[in-house]
């Protein structure tokens, strides 16, 4: 038995929300690995929401669009709501011309708004110089 290929991008858990992203260099194998790892994490952590940041994607072709649509559907079947955040404006224009509307995929302008939609709120004003965190 071979070890499953890892997607190569971190999937972070913040409470009941998973936060992850797509890199520009997505090939078929990486897309499949990402979908599998994410669905395992959803079921393993009982996540209710998934934020996928796509601000790194310089293009979305029909292959990547299909991956996003399938991911969203699979996650929904597992009870998690997916929000795809941070699409670059030229990518949005091109997608429409390509004839792809990403039907069923919820989007947000950026990760912050996506997280807010998933129930996360911005923390109170951070104190200057407090970014060290508490002993981590």
């Amino acid at each position: 038995m071979t070890a499953p290929r890892l997607a190569g991008v971190p999937i972070l858990r913040l409470g009941d929300v998973l936060v992850t992203g797509l890199l520009n260099e997505l090939d078929d194998g990486a897309a499949v690995a990402f979908t599998e790892e994410l669905t395992e994490r959803i079921s393993g952590s009982s996540a209710r929401g998934v934020l996928i940041d796509i601000s790194r994607l310089e293009i979305i072709d029909s292959f990547v669009a299909r991956t996003l649509m399938e991911l969203t559907t699979v996650a929904r079947l597992l009870g998690a709501r997916v929000i795809v955040a941070g699409m670059r404006p030229p990518v949005a224009i091109t997608l429409v011309e390509l004839g792809i509307e990403l039907v069923g995929v919820e989007t947000a302008l950026n990760a912050e708004q996506g997280l807010a939609a998933l129930g996360w709120r911005q923390a109170p004003d951070p104190v200057e110089g407090s970014r060290r965190g508490a002993g981590r």
Binding site: S62, A65, R88, P89, P90, I93, L98, G99
Partner: protein, 157 residues
């Protein structure tokens, strides 16, 4: 400049341009045999769009069209080549992609250009989508004889 064709294509692959000017205008052929080649093609086309002077939206259109066509050649044609050309016309520069494969050809071209039609694992927007993203679009295909898709986008329309 060499005319388009089989023998010329072969010479482009092996000939290294000498001057910077020649390098800017000489066509470059990229082989598409693997997944990684698709990424290489995308990078090469992106660099070419920058060189020609396209804005960000046009860059994105052309690279997306290249990705669709290269994937078509890879998935349906069993691999092929993507040649980048730099045509000029009065008042504008252009970028032309010649995507060639030796696959089974497209049996029903009208159907293949229809959104949602797919014989593969995509969304069926590849060919028709690439046509909409580019200014010029031609397909030559013969059953059993492979497919050549030629697309061009101009800086000034």
């Amino acid at each position: 400049m060499a005319p388009a064709g089989e023998s010329a294509l072969a010479s482009w692959v092996t000939t290294v341009p000498t001057s910077a000017e020649e390098r800017a205008s000489a066509p470059a052929a990229h082989v598409v045999r693997t997944e990684e080649d698709l990424l290489t093609v995308r990078h090469a086309v992106r660099a070419a769009t920058v060189e020609v002077g396209f804005g960000l939206v046009d860059q994105t259109r052309v690279v997306t069209a290249a990705s669709e066509l290269a994937r078509n050649a890879y998935v349906h044609g069993g691999g092929g080549t993507v040649t980048i050309e730099y045509p000029r016309r009065p008042g504008g520069r252009g970028l032309r992609l010649v995507v060639k494969d030796d696959g089974p050809g497209i049996a029903d071209l009208d159907a293949a250009l229809t959104d949602g039609f797919t014989t593969g694992s995509g969304l069926g927007h590849g060919l028709g989508g690439a046509r909409r993203l580019m200014d010029e679009f031609t397909v030559q295909t013969t059953p059993g004889g492979g497919t050549v898709v030629t697309v061009t986008r101009w800086t000034a329309r």
